[in-house]
Symmetry: C2
Subunit: 138 residues, 2 copies
DNA sequence: GTTCCTGCAAAAGCTTTGCAGAAGA
DNA sequence: TCTTCTGCAAAGCTTTTGCAGGAAC
């Protein structure tokens, strides 16, 4: 179930996080671009709109959003971190050829797990890797 | 099904990879230490035995082993890469408190997936995060 | 007016690269 | 002998830190 932008900003307010111009723009960007962007992509795309923007602010903001559970950090790629608006029950597929990341539907909670009694599970991530249909054709 | 050390070295030979002293020791280390070590941990632990060892060699070796599909790369941690030689059906749980990584049994192939028709899936990784029982007590 | 946030510069940390000498086959 | 590997030093990247000025409330 996806949240509206208003619901997202309300959650920030309720957590005592100030609604600075930069934060709102970064949150809006992640909410509208479901492409699992990197810090560099967010920076490049927002620079036209906010010429004084710095990467430090993007790192700061994303870390704040992760602590508030509005954004999720993807570690599917070794070199660079990707970010995703936090919504449930989907996995990520990375094409090893074109490097794109695709979403897919999956019911994570239907999995039978052994060996995690007394573990507090907060996040579940499913990463698949391989070749996407477009790259398979070539 | 895990391989014996002899099977592992045979696969290296068959791939035209030379059995240098360093490579064999690193492979042996990963095979005996199922603790998902980092490059730094391997380096520190092997330095007594091979005083001239360098991290470059460990990076080189691990990349070779990954290409030969003898070792798997774990990206559960943002800052540092972990390595695993265990290819049996299992997931990884990272405790956000003590940072330890635990294995757990899971039947990945029983998952019902929608949206990955025509995708060639080569690797499936399941990462859970939270707090381990020992850290929960505190 | 206070407190928190931004953004610059610098630092830190992991990983890769270039290359000369050494070792494997 | 020929080819490949090792390991040092340096470079390349992403991410974090310290801090002064500025913005939010």
């Amino acid at each position: 179930m996806n949240k509206t932008f208003e619901e997202l900003t309300n959650e920030l307010k309720n957590n005592g996080i100030r609604l600075s111009h930069q934060r709102l723009k970064i949150l809006e960007y992640i909410n509208n671009h479901r492409t699992h962007p990197t810090v560099d992509e967010i920076y490049t795309d927002l620079l036209d709109e906010i010429p004084t923007l710095s990467k430090t602010t993007i790192y700061n903001t994303l870390n704040t959003l992760i602590e508030t559970d509005l954004v999720k950090l993807l570690t599917i790629e070794e070199n660079e971190t990707h970010y995703d608006i936090n919504f449930e029950n989907h996995g990520h597929f990375k094409c090893e050829s074109c490097k794109k990341i695709f979403d897919f539907d999956i019911d994570i909670d239907s999995l039978e797990i052994k060996g995690l009694d007394d573990f507090k599970i907060k996040h579940k991530d499913i990463y698949f890797k391989g070749v996407c249909p477009e790259c398979s054709k070539k």
